[in-house]
Every structure is written in C-alpha cells, then in structure tokens.
C-alpha cells in the first residue's frame, strides 16, 4: 500500500546469517557505540533517567506534594535546589518524581498501544481478506483523525486520571504499529520457510508466534522508542488543555502548564527546570530512535557511509 512508512526491514535475509559469524551481545553493543556515538550517549542518558525514576524517593529532598503556603515562590536556594512553586512545593523533588510519572505514562501508553497494535496488525495481515480490508479502513480513519483531538475527547469522556491519559495517548501509535506489523507479517508470509512449515503441518498459532512475531518486533521496537518521546510531549499538550494528569501528581507537563501560564517572569524556575528536563528526555528518545533505525536498516548497512 502506498501509505506504508519506509519499512525498516529487520527480516534476516536467509543465506547471510548462515555464513556470517554470530556476534555476542557485548560485541554488538560495542559496535553500536562506536558507529553511533549519539545513540550511545542517548542510551546512557536514558539509563540515568530510568535510575532517577526508580530511585526517586531516595533522590528527592522533600515530599513532592507537601504544600507550604508561606514558603511559596522561593528562588533556588540551598534548602530548595530548584526553588518552590506557587503552592510552596519543592520543585526539585517534583522534577525527580516527574521523571517517574513520565516514564510510567510513557511505557504504559506505548506498551498498551504496541500490544494492541501488534496483535491486530499480525492477525489482520496473516488472515487477509475481508477482515484485513475492514481493519485497514479503521486504520485509515484513525490516522486521519488529529490525534490530540481524539485524546482530548477520550480524556473528556473517561475523566482525567493517570490511567485514562495513558489510554488516550496509546491510541496515538496504534495505527502506525498496526501498519508496521501488518506489512512485516505480509513480508514474512511470503518467505519460503513459512510456506514450507505450513505444508509440513505446523499449526497456525505456532506459526504466528514462532515465525512472524519475532520479525515484526524489531521495527516495532524502533517505532516505539521514537514514539515514547512523542507521548511525553503529548501529555504536556493535554495538560495545557486542562486534561493532563490531575494534580497533585507531579508531571512535567502539568508543571510546565501551571508555570508557563503566569509565572514565567515571577518564578522562572517553575518553568525552566521541568521544561528542560522534559525537552532533554524527549530529545534523547528521538535520537535513540533515530540511531536504532539507522543501525537496524540493512539497506543502509549494505550501503555503508
């Protein structure tokens, strides 16, 4: 179909694998770091991020939701490394916990969307026929619908909560994942060895899980990595419309929304720190996604730089 994205075809090309020596994981990683230093740096930053999220309670200096009326809008100091916000809460602690929330929402949204999308895409691609036709029409409609409007409607419908925001955001990548996994499935379907297995009498589910799924996961993984950043930015967008993760949960998008709407001059630390944190994280996810795509695309590999 013409609307297919440029396919990252991670399907092994049969013969080559048998001739090339297998590399260990460590050797692959080293190779990755050497060829794509930006990717390696991004991965490193993101590992830091994950650690921050996991150890948030340890790293934070204060309770992120404890208000302190008299101590509001204080500039960064020894006591409050990133100052306090309009309710007297410690910005640093909120930024730290915000990392956790961002990753939670991001992984949940992407995870949900991926699981959903891959299931539908693989089944639709494998079975073909009417089901495939109808599914593709759904995908057409979903892709044509501006995502933020859809997310907005869903959050309005379901109510604003961490869970519902995650669900609404997962809708964003479902169509793309369906397309991607479907086209991978179609490609693999043609592969000789699948047909061979079919004639020998291997059952359908076995075929799906063993042969098709692993080959779709590669490109989907790349897509998901890139999309993770998009989800975090989208949450900020929803927060601006008043439909983000509800207070008092500290989310970077929410902090950015409150701060940008009236405190940019009076208390810039309220905006600057979560804003920079958010931008850096999203940025590195995008870079990582780019690097992975470059690495995994065999066509580019063949070409060489």
């Amino acid at each position: 179909m013409a609307n297919e994205p440029t396919i990252v075809d991670a399907v092994p090309t049969g013969h080559d694998d048998n001739l090339r020596p297998k590399r260990t994981l460590a050797q692959n990683l080293k190779r990755f770091a050497r060829r794509k230093p930006m990717g390696a740096i991004s991965a490193f930053i993101l590992i830091l991020l994950a650690l921050t999220a996991i150890f948030a309670p340890v790293l934070a200096t204060h309770d992120p939701i404890l208000q302190d009326g008299p101590g509001r809008l204080q500039a960064p100091s020894a006591e409050h490394w990133m100052g306090t916000d309009n309710l007297g809460r410690d910005v640093f602690s909120r930024v730290i916990f915000g990392a956790r929330i961002s990753l939670e929402v991001g992984f949940f949204a992407i995870g949900l969307g991926t699981v959903f999308g891959v299931s539908i895409g693989v089944v639709s691609g494998y079975l073909g026929g009417k089901l495939d036709l109808i599914t593709q029409r759904f995908v057409d409609v979903l892709m044509g619908f501006p995502f933020i409007i859809l997310a907005m409607l869903l959050v309005v419908a379901l109510g604003a909560s961490l869970l519902n925001v995650g669900i609404a955001l997962s809708v964003a990548i479902v169509p793309r994942v369906i397309r991607l996994s479907r086209s991978s499935t179609l490609t693999v379907k043609e592969e000789m060895y699948v047909l061979a297995a079919f004639t020998v009498g291997v059952s359908l589910p076995r075929m799906v899980f063993i042969h098709i799924l692993p080959n779709t996961l590669g490109p989907v993984f790349v897509l998901a990595t890139g999309a993770l950043g998009g989800v975090i930015v989208a949450e900020a967008g929803l927060a601006f419309l008043g439909l983000g993760i509800p207070p008092p949960t500290p989310s970077w998008g929410g902090m950015l929304n409150v701060g940008a709407r009236g405190y940019m001059e009076a208390a810039p630390w309220m905006v600057l720190f979560p804003g920079i944190a958010l931008s850096v994280v999203v940025f590195t996810f995008s870079l990582l996604g780019d690097a992975l795509r470059d690495i995994l695309d065999p066509r580019l590999r063949r070409g060489g730089s």
């Binding site: 404890l66 208000q67 009326g69 008299p70 509001r72 309009n86 309710l87 007297g88 309005v156 109510g159 604003a160 008043g242 509800p246 207070p247 008092p248 409150v258 940008a260 709407r261 009236g262 405190y263 001059e265 009076a266 208390a267």
Partner: protein, 579 residues
C-alpha cells in the same frame, strides 16, 4: 528504484499543485460562508453631538478593549447571563431594562429606559413611565410596547405552531408577573400575582438586559423563528453604541450612537468615545502581551482573565506604574467548601465539619490561591448589613486565634473518633483546580486524605443533582438576599444546591427571606441564616471572595468601576480617552 527517475520538476509541480489547491479550497470555503463581517443598518441621527467640550472629558477616539470569547447564545441576555455576553452587549443595549442598578451602588435602583415609576398601595401593580425621546439604533421610537414585549417574552416565552420559546427560568422577577398592559405609548402597567414590594429591584438586576426590539423580533417570532436573538436582528438596541461590524473570532466594532438618550451632568450627550473595538482574545497570555505592547487599552473580565499579582507586576514592570490603572472589583461570589451530609461518611458528624472549619486557614488560602487579591468572608461580605456582625473575629475566620483553633480542631476530630484522619472525595470543577489544590493541602495537614476529582461542567452538574460527592467546591454565588439566587444557601430540597442536607430549618429561612419586604427584615433573617448554616451546623465552610483585578491604561478615563459585581457598568458611556 532505478526505473523511477522522476523529473525533479514534476515532483515540485505536484507540491505546488497541492499547495495551490489548499489555498483555493480555503478561499472558496471562506467565500461560500455567508458570515462576512456583518454591518448593522445605519441609524438616522436626529440630534447632533454637542460641540462644546467640557474641560475634563473629551469626545473622540476608538478604545481597544478585549473580550475573552465570542458572545455565545446569539448574544441574548435571556439565554445567558455570562460576562461573555454582557461584555459587549453592555455597550449595544445598555445595562438593565426599564430600570437598572445604580452605577455606584448596586443595591439602589436607578432610572434607565423608564424615568419614573411607582407602585400601588400593596405593591401588586407597578406603573412605569417610559422616558421620552428614546430611539432604537434604526430610528424607531422606543415605546411602552417594547417594554411590554420584553417582560412578556421573559415571563411567558412565545409559541408559533410547533415552535416554542420557553420562559426565562433564571430571571427572578418573572415569577410574580401576572400580566402587562401598555396603556399608552409612554406608560406600562405591570400586574403582579402577589405583593412584591421590591419588584423594581428585582427588575433592575443588570444582567437582565433589554436587547429585544419588538418591531424586528415580533415578525420573526410570527414566522416561526421563536428563538430569535439580538444577533439575528442586527443588534439593534438602545444603548450608547451601535454595531458597525462583527468578525467572529476576531473583533466586534461598535460606534457611537448619536441619539443616545443620556447626557452627562453638564448636559453633553453621551457617549464620549467615537467607538470601541472589542478584540476576541481567547488566551490570557495573548491578551497580556497585547496590553503590554499598547495594542489594548483594557484587559478583559471573566475568570481566568483576571490578573494575578504576578501578571499584574509584569504589566507594571513593562509599562510603568504611572501608565496603568488597576481596577479592583469584588466578585460578589463567596467561595465555600460544601459538605454532603446525606452520604454515610465522617462528614455526617457535626464535630468533623466543625474541625475542618476551625482548621482551614483562610488568610493563607487567599494568599496562595489569589496571591492576596481577595478577602476572607462568610456567606456574605462581612462589611455589609447581611452578615453577622463580628463574624470574622470568631474561630475559623480569625487569623489571630488560628493556632489555638487548630489544636481545637485536632481535638474535635479525635473526639469524633478520627484521630488518625479519614479519606474523603473532593469534587472540584476543572477550571477551579487552582482553588481546590491549596484546600487539599491544608486538609491533608489535618490528616484527611483527600481524593481530588476535577470534573467538567456536565459531570459536575449531574453529580450535584445526584448528591454524588463528599465535598464540593461551591463557587461563584450571588448571595445578596435581594437577588436570592444563592446556590449555596439554597433550601434543602433544591437539587442544585451544593451543600447537601435534609434540614427543613434552612428551608424555613429561605422562605422567610422570600416573603420579607423590608431590608431590615431581610438583614435580620440573613444573619440568622448565616449563623445557623455557617457556624452552628457548618453545612459548608465559607472561605473568601476573590478581588477581581483588571487593568486599564492611564489615558482611559471615566470608567465606572462597580465595587460589588464585575458584571456591571459595561455600557462604557462615560468613558473617554485622554490622548
């Protein structure tokens, strides 16, 4: 891929065609739209503006004001009392109808389209004399028939065939009207079903704007368009300004109506301004930016657009304190944390509610929520005769005794059996999140684990009707007894009241208020009601009122700042530009 060497030019051409077709489509769609800037018909100008210039005020100039959104509901005050409608309607139609609230004293009744009026002995019949020389913007004289049309439309609605226009449910004066008669062109007689000694005051509420020309609307109604709105008939009104053009989403331009019936004290015809351009600014940041760079002469009114101390300081920093005037207006909205005592929760226990009442530090809440732009209140403004004298010095409101009160609160909570606190849901309108969050913070410090639920209007309305919440943030209410539309102080079986209880005594207060006929009587009853509801039974914890700040350039003079309610004095007839 080797076979698909496409000409570079063809590719670029395709992009060009795509772009061009986008542009053409855009143009055609806009051309097909019939909503070109609508021009209102020209008025016949019967009088000339005075040529002598009073030493203070000057004629001339176009003021640049802002409105936060396009006026909804066809600009019809009968359909919506929102500031969004009144902001621009004020200049086109004036405030009020036959009578209006006096610009400098909201509790007094002043003349408007009627210059004198009287009631019979038992206040069951009111006679209004229509002012001479008033004309609609299209030159048609305003007569008693117009007054009758207005009151009838609000009271009875209209029906043509299957099309029904409902009576106005929100305007209180409507309840008592029996019938209206225009005995001649200048006299309107209103007969009431029962005695209403302050009928003129009920009529004067200035969001009850007369924007309904009979000679234009009646034919529409007869033709079946029963919900005809001022927008449908070209905004013809009797106010100081006429509509020149309206571009939805962009700007509404009004210009002086030369035959406006009011003059200033020296006899110079109003308004002074040549016109006003109301720019639609949907985002406060955009509005602030425009004001700070001189594109606007005044900021908009309405929640979200009122200034916080931070925004106010930023404006003063940019322009200089001498270049702006801060307008401070009370909101006449008394915020309260309303409790639902019908549900089986700890809040059913009076001790728990009292504890919360004692614990809440209202001064701090005003500081944190509004940056200090507000005042601690009970059910009413403590400086008025409606409020219990000295209430602000009693526990709960009194800042000086807060520490002791808080100890008492903890003790009360323990007495009630909740020494370790409890959980409660707090339903809050999404736009009021910034009001509810600080309250949550204080309640958490008391040991109450609060689940804050931000909901939209539809959900909030539905859950209020079903009493499906533990605590509810009760927002802007009109608590002045004269209007008795107070949501918060409503009687027990009102489904839209925020505090939920089954207390018939509150009912009793409400009914006596309705039947009271003098201010002194009402004042006594309102004090009793406040004492009972806010202190004895704590059906809600009354908190504060916001002080709405908007800002106006130094050269804008003559703005009548309403001290009590920011939805007043929007006709701008006395405004002039000193530049």
């Amino acid at each position: 891929m080797e076979n698909h060497i496409v000409n570079n030019g063809t590719r670029a051409l395709k992009i060009l065609i795509l772009s061009a077709s986008l542009l053409v489509m855009a143009f055609m769609l806009a051309a097909c739209s019939s909503d070109d800037p609508t021009a209102a018909p020209a008025a016949s100008s019967t009088g000339s503006t005075s040529s002598e210039v009073v030493e203070e005020s000057k004629y001339g100039g176009i003021a640049n004001f802002s409105a936060r959104t396009d006026p909804p509901r066809g600009w019809d005050p009968m359909s919506s009392g929102s500031i969004s409608v009144l902001m621009i309607d004020g200049s086109l139609f004036g405030m009020g109808n036959l009578v209006r609230q006096c610009p400098d004293d909201g509790t007094a009744v002043c003349d408007n389209l009627s210059d004198t009026w009287s009631a019979n002995a038992d206040s069951t019949q009111w006679t209004f004399h229509i002012r001479d020389g008033v004309t609609w913007h299209d030159g048609t004289p305003f007569t008693a028939e117009d007054g009758k049309f207005f009151i009838d439309l609000a009271t009875f609605g209209a029906t043509t065939g299957d099309n029904v226009r409902r009576p106005n449910g929100a305007w209180k004066f409507v309840r008592s009207v029996e019938k209206t008669t225009a005995t001649d062109a200048s006299t309107l007689v209103v007969d009431l079903k029962y005695s209403v000694p302050d009928f003129d005051q009920l009529l004067s509420v200035d969001n009850q704007v007369l924007a309904h020309p009979k000679h234009l609307m009646q034919p529409e109604i007869d033709a079946g368009n029963v919900n005809v709105s001022p927008k449908d008939v070209g905004w013809i009104g009797t106010g100081p300004f006429m509509m020149e053009s309206y571009t939805p989403g962009s700007v509404a331009k009004v210009r002086r109506y030369d035959s406006y019936y009011r003059s200033d004290e020296e006899g110079n015809r109003l308004p002074y301004l040549d016109g006003i351009d109301f720019y639609i600014t949907p985002d406060p940041a955009g509005m602030d930016a425009a004001f700070r760079t001189g594109r606007l002469d005044a900021t908009a009114r309405g929640s979200g657009f009122q200034l916080t101390p931070e925004r106010e300081n930023a404006i003063i920093d940019t322009l200089g304190a001498d270049k702006v005037q801060i307008m401070k207006m009370a909101q006449s909205s008394f915020w309260a944390l309303a409790f639902n005592t019908l549900r089986d929760t700890p809040l059913k226990d009076l001790k728990v509610r009292q504890a919360i009442h004692l614990w809440l530090d209202r001064q701090e809440l005003v500081e944190v929520t509004f940056g200090g732009f507000g005042k601690v209140t009970g059910m009413y403004d403590p400086d008025t005769e409606w409020a219990v004298t000295g209430l602000m010095d009693t526990p709960g409101w009194n800042a000086a005794t807060k520490a002791a009160d808080r100890t008492a609160a903890k003790a009360l909570l323990a007495e009630a059996g909740y020494a370790d606190g409890f959980e409660a849901e707090f339903m809050c309108r999404r736009q009021w999140g910034f009001v509810c969050e600080p309250i949550v913070g204080q309640l958490e410090a008391l040991g109450i684990s609060v689940k804050l639920e931000l909901v939209d209007d539809a959900t909030r309305a539905s859950r209020t009707l079903d009493a499906a919440y533990d605590m509810n943030m009760a927002g802007p209410t009109v608590a002045l007894p004269a209007q008795y539309g107070s949501l918060v102080a409503s009687h027990a079986d009102s489904p839209t009241a925020d505090p939920k209880h089954a207390d018939a005594k509150v009912d009793g207060f409400f009914r006596s208020l309705e039947s009271a006929s003098t201010v002194a009587e009402r004042s006594a009853i309102s004090k009793e009601m406040e004492q009972y509801m806010a202190v004895d039974m704590v059906y809600a914890a009354w908190l504060y009122t916001e002080e709405a700040h908007s800002v106006v350039r130094d050269y804008v003079k003559g703005v009548q700042v309403p001290a009590d309610n920011y939805r007043r004095n929007l006709d701008f007839a006395t405004v002039w530009l000193d530049k």
